[in-house]
């Protein structure tokens, strides 16, 4: 609740006191989550990380639904991963990807979901990436399987992974000039950015598959014969 409750202007959460108003609560529900797993909460591993790297590298730890998320400073992420793999037994990278937190400080995030199969542990690391400096060190030297996931993050969000052996786009063709998973990219795409084949053998290329949504006339695959009114 806001502190200035006594002031005349009602706070936002009160003005919209309605059954389905999105709850603007802080993170809660960590303890009694019915789907919480025992594997995802590993304070011992996090302590070991802090001991080896110090507080400058290992940032705050968040826990939601019994899942630990450790924020790591960007420059040391490969070292932290190597430590986890070699000393802590996290030998499997389950997932890696980027997040766009548009309008927030430190716009992009990259998360690393690593698994220790012997000890049944799962840990999530996160690094924050600023919009002005989209470079992140690659972890492909530690986990080979990060290769395609990093390519995907590059393709979708434009994050550049320094030292990556093969930083090409993953899904979109190389000729595409945008990063589609960024929040400012429109859902229907940018007209003309991805020409599609013509709708008729001798027709023009389809520059905009959603022409009607952009206020112009969609191309037809055939032309109806003109009927004369005589």
């Amino acid at each position: 609740m806001p502190a200035d409750e006594s002031s005349n202007a009602p706070s936002k959460s009160e003005a919209l006191k309605f059954h389905y108003t999105p709850a603007d609560t802080a993170i809660s529900g960590s303890e009694d989550n019915p789907h919480a797993k025992a594997t995802t909460h590993n304070p011992a591993v996090i302590n070991a990380m802090t001991e080896s790297f110090g507080d400058e590298v290992i940032g705050p730890v968040e826990t939601y639904a019994n899942e630990d998320t450790v924020y790591v400073s960007k420059d040391r992420i490969a070292d932290v991963c190597r430590f986890l793999k070699e000393e802590q037994g996290f030998n499997y990278l389950a997932d890696l990807g980027g997040i766009d937190r548009f309008t927030q400080e430190g716009r992009f995030e990259v998360f690393y979901n690593v698994v220790n199969m012997e000890a049944k542990q799962r840990l999530r690391l996160k690094v924050r990436v600023d919009e002005d400096n989209l470079h992140v060190p690659t972890v492909t030297s530690v986990y080979r399987s990060a290769n395609w996931n990093e390519r995907e993050a590059y393709d979708m969000l434009g994050l550049i992974f320094d030292g990556h052996p093969d930083l090409r786009r993953m899904y979109m063709p190389e000729d595409f000039e945008y990063y589609p998973l960024r929040k400012e990219f429109p859902q229907l795409g940018v007209p003309g950015s991805l020409p599609l084949p013509p709708q008729a053998p001798d027709g023009e290329l389809t520059m905009d598959p959603f022409a009607a949504a952009h206020g112009s006339k969609p191309a037809k695959s055939y032309n109806e014969p003109e009927i004369e009114d005589e």
Partner: protein, 460 residues
């Protein structure tokens, strides 16, 4: 740069060439790539005499670069796919051949990319459900359940017991259905067309069960956030029971036919082999990982639904070749039948959906006969489940292809701020690029079948 193959019939002349930079980059990559087989050879040389396993597939084992001497024109660049029946979808493999051996392979995916991660950001959690059907379209029910569980974890929604058992039955049926397709198509790739028809007969039975349960044969969308859409009818139970009985016998017949079948074994044995270390390093998942001796099954690793209460084995194999993956999937189907039988025995009576109007749809009786019910239905469609702001959670299930997880981030509205799919086919395909290197062209078909990728999922 490698010589780009020219297709005289397809030369568009001065007309637009589709995505010219894209193809250029692929051929560049093919040229500059350090093939894994080169690394293997170097490691074998470093080890001493060169272990025979690493060199068997290599025609000239001396490790000398072959580019300089190619008087017989052995080398060529070959595009397999994207439109090729053996690639099981729109997978494109660009391979550099030396005779019949694949020297280097570059996979190109994205021909089925629909941007479902982007789409999810514009949909409520419930609205997104039908899209999950179209990811791994060979086992839609698993995807529905994976999605529901992820949302339920994010928003901390409890699911009634009966719904969890129903989900388990359906998930295991989806696994059998997916493995049936893998077997049928794999057999057809190896030349046995009749096997395809037998497995599809069983799939047809599963379709009729889905039809009875969900009203749709293929894209079921039957699971709901907070439960399932409808209870199983008596007819559905009868059909499931009949299926488990008949399928056991059928599976036995297939094994009689295949386990000692000379052609099938010869085509699969020692083909596409990955060791335990390689499988972990490449991030393989599901049967492809367990086929190399890694005991990683999410039903055991972090049990969801009621998997910690039923008795089943997680089959693993040590060999890591296509034959191991064949045996493993056959055993998995057998275990699935066992799980279904236990579920049928133990399924309790009770509600099938959460009773909280903020967390799940009300039942249709409420919607039709009470004003509150109708309002709740309307509001749930409009706003849906709302997770707390800043919450983020990852939930994965063991889908037929491997670890299928959703990582959801909430901004306190009814739509996910970011939805991330951890698709098993995507990670498996990454490993396949390395498995293909050093194998024969003819074996590619068997390897693709054995890795069992689904492009709908890999391409997102």
């Amino acid at each position: 740069m490698a010589e780009a193959p020219s297709f005289p019939g397809l030369d568009l002349g001065d007309k637009f060439r589709f995505w010219p930079k894209h193809n250029e980059k692929i051929y560049e990559r093919l040229e500059s790539k350090h093939a894994w087989i080169e690394e293997k050879r170097a490691a074998a040389e470093a080890a001493g005499d060169g272990s025979p396993e690493a060199l068997t597939t290599q025609p000239s084992g001396d490790g000398a670069p072959l580019e300089a001497e190619d008087p017989l024109d052995h080398q060529m660049t070959l595009n397999i796919g994207p439109q090729h029946p053996a690639t099981h979808g729109v997978l494109r493999c660009v391979v550099k051949l030396d005779g019949e051996t694949i020297e280097k392979a570059v996979l190109d995916i994205g021909y089925l990319h629909r941007g479902i991660e982007k789409l999810a950001e514009h949909k409520t959690y419930q609205e997104f459900m039908p899209y999950t059907d179209r990811m791994d379209y060979l086992s839609p029910y698993s995807n529905n359940v994976a999605w529901c569980l992820a949302v339920e974890k994010l928003a901390s929604i409890d699911v009634p017991e009966r719904a969890q058992w129903i989900r388990m039955i359906m998930c295991e049926l989806a696994r059998i259905s997916s493995h049936c397709l893998w077997l049928g198509v794999g057999l057809m790739d190896a030349g046995a067309v009749s096997g395809f028809l037998w497995t599809f007969q069983q799939r047809e039975d599963i379709y009729s069960i889905f039809d009875e349960v969900a009203g749709a044969r293929f894209t079921v969308s039957h699971s709901r956030i907070g439960g399932v859409a409808s209870d199983l009818s008596a007819e559905a139970f009868r059909r499931i029971r009949a299926f488990t009985e008949s399928f056991r016998t059928e599976l036995g017949r297939w094994e009689d036919f295949l386990n000692r079948n000379r052609i099938w074994v010869d085509r699969n044995k020692d083909v596409g082999r990955i060791t335990r270390e390689e499988a972990l390093e490449l991030g393989m998942t599901g049967p492809n990982l367990r086929g190399s001796g890694v005991d990683y099954d999410l039903r055991r690793f972090e049990p969801y639904l009621k998997y910690d209460e039923v008795d089943f084995n997680v089959p693993t194999r040590e060999e890591g070749d296509c034959l191991a993956r064949y045996f493993l999937r056959m055993e998995e189907m057998r275990e699935s039948v066992r799980i279904i039988e236990q579920c049928l025995e133990r399924i309790p009576e009770g509600p099938i959906r959460s009773d909280d109007a903020k967390q799940a749809y009300p039942s249709k009786e409420e919607v039709y006969y009470s004003m509150e019910g109708m309002i709740h239905d309307f509001m749930y469609t409009d706003v849906g489940t709302v997770a707390p702001k800043g919450a983020h959670a990852y939930h994965a299930i063991e889908s037929p292809k491997g670890e299928l997880g959703f990582y959801l981030t909430s901004d306190g509205t009814g739509r996910p701020a970011r939805m991330r799919v951890n698709a098993p086919s995507f990670t498996n395909l990454q490993g396949m690029e390395y498995i293909m290197e050093g194998s024969l062209v003819a074996d590619t078909v068997v390897i693709i079948g054995s890795i069992d990728p689904v492009m709908g999922e890999a391409d997102k």
